[in-house]
């Protein structure tokens, strides 16, 4: 816990930094161990391409962990992209392996036998573990919480000690207040509530649709994959809808300072910019389904 050595022990800041460092190290170790397991599996098989790629993943992850640990702000985006790439590789490998086991779609049998071991994902449980581990790591280094707070503190960024009334990484009021009426702040609060409910509803819908798609792959592979894809898109749409909830609610709970209003608008802008891509995917999958139906008829 070297990063916290300079802070006075047992202060809220010190405790928070220790929690942050512990969480960051735990996430990093989980990601690292998942690659070690899968690379060892490639060695036992043996699959030399998988082994070489697995070694590259281990070295890459070590490099990013080290870079992140230095506190460098510019390390966070490449590290997040690296974690995203690892999640995508684990996801593709695991799905192809599951397709081989459960015989969903014969189109992917051939590629399923060669690609996952070459991607250093030669074991379903290992692949799932890698996905979970890198997702936790990605969450820790991108979302406001003790781990990101610790990294920012290490990088020398101005961060305030968190307390029950001022959560970490908070928005700083500018002093310029937008004099909203109670009815107008109520609308912001209502929006936060609706976003939260819609997020959960879309996640549930996406989960069920993905399961239904998976069930149908064996009988109607193309429509099954399209339904599965739509389910995943709805699931992600639900997850991202939850992101602006806290910021939007702040307008009612913490005041109508333009900083809070701006923070809510930034988060809403982020939601909609991601929604553009997801809706595009939804349209593409829908058009694919429409073409399949027209071709069938």
């Amino acid at each position: 816990m070297s990063a916290t050595a300079t802070d006075t022990p047992s202060t809220p800041l010190h405790d928070y930094l220790v929690t942050g460092e512990t969480l960051f190290v735990t996430g990093a170790v989980l990601a690292f161990v998942s690659d070690i397991i899968l690379t060892f599996r490639s060695l036992v098989l043996p699959n030399w391409i998988g082994l070489a790629l697995g070694m590259a993943f281990i070295l890459g992850t070590l490099f990013f962990i080290n870079w992140l640990y230095s506190g460098a702000k510019q390390a966070r985006l490449p590290a997040a992209l690296w974690a995203g790439l690892q999640i995508a590789i684990a996801l593709v490998g695991t799905i192809l392996l599951l397709n081989l086991t459960y015989r969903w779609d014969y189109h992917f049998y051939k590629i399923g036998a060669t690609l996952p071991p070459a991607l250093s994902v030669s074991w379903v449980i290992g692949g799932i573990f890698k996905m979970v581990a890198y997702t936790i790591f990605l969450y820790l280094i991108t979302q406001r919480g003790p781990a990101l707070f610790f990294l920012r503190h290490r990088g020398g960024e101005t961060v305030e000690a968190p307390s029950p009334t001022t959560p970490p990484e908070d928005v700083h009021p500018t002093g310029i207040v937008l004099p909203l009426t109670a009815d107008q702040t109520g609308k912001a609060d209502a929006l936060g509530s609706t976003l939260q409910k819609a997020g959960f509803a879309l996640m549930t819908a996406g989960f069920f649709e993905a399961v239904v798609g998976g069930q149908r792959i064996a009988t109607t592979p193309r429509l099954g994959w399209l339904t599965l894809g739509e389910g995943v898109v709805l699931l992600v749409l639900g997850v991202i809808a939850l992101a602006p909830v806290a910021a939007v609610r702040n307008i009612k709970e913490r005041g109508t300072d333009t900083a809070y209003v701006n923070d809510a608008l930034v988060k809403l802008g982020g939601l909609f910019s991601k929604q553009i891509l997801l809706t595009l995917a939804l349209v593409a999958l829908g058009i694919g389904g429409l073409i399949l139906r027209l071709a069938k008829g």
Binding site: Q184, K187, T204, A205, L234, T279, G297
Partner: protein
Amino acid sequence: MAPEPTATFSPEQSTTVNRLATSLTFVAPLLLLAGFVRIAIGVVDIVHGQWSGLLAIPAGALLAFAGLALWAGASDAKYLHDVKGREKEHLSNTFDSINTAFTALLIFGCYEAFLGFINMWV
């Protein structure tokens, strides 16, 4: 002569509002299109004798309605950016439009979740 109304948002905050308006301008027609595609799928299914296609039409209508509400939201956000001195009203309208769109998406989510749950066992 009436004094020029002053801007409540700083130039940086104003850029944020503009970015939101731009994002909404793109996402609204896409949601509308996604809704129409779903309705078209329902119609094609019905034409092919599959009455289950009827179930896709309300889902498509809800998606299209969400798109329309966000389109209104895009205009509100644009006014919020362009019209100085009336930020309160336009901010409130923007939140209102987004709220309406997400209420439609909430109903869409519940409807799709219900259909998905039933389809899992059929």
